[in-house]
């Protein structure tokens, strides 16, 4: 019986964790409660995945109001990929990050911190499962507001300005999204995604509907860190507490991309997307990001910032694949969405360990770290190689599909650009690995020990998933391919 209510429980569990946590005192208790709730959410995500794989898409009418009157939750292959990722990474970050949070967040604020963390998770999940464009906005705001506060918890005072900057541009982006929803609603009279899909095709030729698409696109573009409206991202990732960076880097932008997929392909359909030149714009922006952000990453002196720029570049890949507007392209985009989240979460978790032991993450701090923290650095190295696209990791699988998609439509030149950009990834990540493995710790550097066991376990759990899905990619590839087929077929 409970299985029919899994969709709503998926959101409710982390959502209800927040008020409960706000009532609590003490770090340990609130940590355990938050972790418990998030892990339960992960288990629910697994249950939903099994359900969807067996019986196909699940719909849940909240309040028993048949859509489009009420708000509908809709869960299909694409959704469960995101759910697994968001809840999985959240669990990994909480389980592994306990000690880091203890160091970075003062005892008195710990319950509130965890409450915000759970709200963030709930917001992202809510954005993922909802089938209603306005409900999406509400959960977008829940996740955004909690993110702003979480980023501001960073130890450096620049965390405050980073949070502020993110707040301003994030709110502008969200408001653009609302404008787009308004126009969409104006032309169709509904807010339900499935209903919109059916009704948009009737007004496909109007300018207004294209304008709606443009505004939704810009609004979400801000949230997903699309160049050139990306500038909040490096600051936010670099200044946030390490665990928050790890969680955000793995999930937040990915969920925004997911929403964009849902809206662009699920609601508007390929026809409008390609005929309005938006597709070409997206491809251009994607290629621009993969080159420009990779080059910027090379010149960063702080590892967190470096990885943040790398994220921008990887989002470029996803945008590019999305812009191809083919089944192969969407498969690649969805795959990379998932894979990149996994890789980035691992990398940032490794940085969490470094920050925990050294208090900072500048490049030169990595000298000789492999001797002091072998497990951490090995996880980092594997994830880094994965990001470059070395075989037997998920990064290779992504890259393969990206290239195949590029070949399918744009041919060799673009494929070469993608490969070139992955070489740049090698160029900016290799120095870290080399420093860690082939340099000596500077003389007089403090003795440090390996990261706490929980953190290592969290990292290696992600690495294990990475390698497993890298060698045997059937599961994710099939899910992604199915999801892509559904998205493409949503509007004939």
């Amino acid at each position: 019986m409970i299985s029919t209510h899994l969709p709503i429980l998926q959101v409710l569990v982390p959502l209800l964790a927040a008020p409960v946590l706000a009532l609590l005192r003490g770090r340990t208790l609130s940590y355990l409660v938050a972790t418990g709730f998030v892990v339960v959410a992960f288990l629910i995500a697994i249950g939903l995945t099994i359900q969807v794989v067996h019986t196909g898409a699940v719909s849940y009418a909240i309040g028993n109001w048949a859509p489009p009157l009420g708000i509908e939750y809709r869960i299909d292959e694409l959704t469960v990929i995101m759910l697994l990722m968001v809840t999985g990474i959240a669990s990994a970050v909480l389980i592994g990050g306990g000690q880091s949070i203890a160091v970075e967040i003062p005892e008195r604020r710990a319950p509130l911190f965890f409450a915000l963390f759970c709200l963030n998770v709930a917001g992202l999940i809510g954005m993922t499962v909802t089938g209603d464009v306005f409900n999406l906005f509400v959960f977008l705001e829940i996740s955004s507001l909690s993110t702003y506060a979480l980023v501001a918890m960073g130890r450096d005072r620049r965390a405050l300005t980073a949070a502020y900057q993110y707040l301003v541009i994030g709110t502008v982006g969200a408001t653009f999204y609302v404008i787009g929803v308004g126009l969409l609603y104006m032309m169709t009279g509904t807010l339900n995604m499935a209903d919109l899909t059916a009704r948009v095709s009737g007004v496909e030729s109007t300018l207004t509907i294209k304008t709606a698409l443009a505004f939704l696109f810009i609004g979400l573009g801000v949230k997903l860190g699309m160049m050139p409206v990306h500038f909040w991202l490096p600051n936010a990732y670099a200044q946030a507490p390490s665990t928050v960076s790890a969680f955000l880097a793995g999930t937040a932008t990915k969920v925004a991309v997911y929403v964009m997929l849902r809206i662009v392909f699920g609601i508007f359909g390929i026809g409008i997307f390609t005929s309005s030149y938006l597709a070409d714009v997206v491809i251009a922006l994607g290629i621009f990001a993969m080159v420009a952000a990779s080059v910027s990453a090379i010149f960063q002196s702080d590892a967190k910032r470096l990885l943040a720029y790398s994220s921008l570049a990887q989002i470029g890949y996803i945008l590019f694949a999305l812009g191809l507007a083919t089944e192969a392209g969407l498969t690649a985009a969805i795959l990379h969405l998932f894979n990149h989240g996994l890789m980035k979460a691992t990398l940032f978790l490794a940085l969490t360990a470094v920050a925990l032991r050294l208090g900072r993450t500048r490049l030169e701090d990595f000298d000789g770290l492999a001797q002091a923290m072998p497990a951490t650095m090995l996880a980092f190295a594997v994830a880094a190689l994965s990001l470059v696209g070395v075989p037997l990791t998920i990064g290779f699988v992504s890259k393969w599909y990206l290239l195949a998609a590029a070949f399918d439509r744009d041919g060799v030149l673009v494929a070469a650009v993608i490969l070139g950009s992955s070489l740049l990834a090698l160029l900016y990540l290799w120095p870290l690995v080399e420093r860690a493995y082939f340099r000596k710790r500077p003389a007089g550097a403090p003795e440090i020990e390996e990261a706490p066991l929980a953190l290592i376990l969290a990292m290696w759990a992600l690495v294990a998933v990475n390698v497993f899905l890298g060698v045997n990619s059937q599961f994710t590839v099939n899910l992604a391919a199915n999801a892509a087929r559904h998205l493409i077929g949503a509007v004939p």
Binding site: F134, F137, V138, E141, L145, Y148, A149, A152, R157, R158, L160, T161, A163, Y164, L167, V168, T171, V172, A174, T175, V178, I179, G182, Y185, M186, L191
Partner: protein
């Protein structure tokens, strides 16, 4: 096109852009939040204008009326207003902290301070 045609919408759109202009160009970070509020309120105006039906009344059912304005945008905007005040409160709290940490809320001055460190 019969008056008022799309005037309401147009003015609302101009208002939005004025708000946005303040957000982008004002160096005072408190003022930016004021701009953000104006931007958002203008969007509310846009939505509520959409809801209006000529000759309609407020959507409170009563036997005396038959034509009502669209209640749904009202509901949406109620939610949006709440989101707006929540954002404003959070932004101001951040600014209080920024003032304490940097001694100013001027964007340029803070950038200069950040470069120093």
């Amino acid at each position: 096109m019969e008056f008022p045609g799309l005037y309401n919408y147009w003015i609302a759109m101009v208002l939005m852009m004025m708000g946005l202009y303040i957000v982008i160009t004002d160096p005072n970070m408190v003022k930016k939040i004021v701009g953000l509020s104006i931007f958002q309120v203008s969007v509310f105006v846009f939505y509520i204008s959409m809801a209006k039906v000529r000759g309609g009344t407020a959507p409170i059912l009563d036997d005396r009326f038959t034509v009502y304005s669209n209640p749904l945008p009202h509901v949406l905007i109620l939610t949006a207003i709440v989101v707006g005040i929540a954002t404003t409160a959070l932004a101001l709290a951040l600014l209080v902290r920024i003032q304490a940490a940097f001694g100013t809320v001027d964007e340029e001055a803070i950038k200069a301070l950040e470069r120093e460190t």
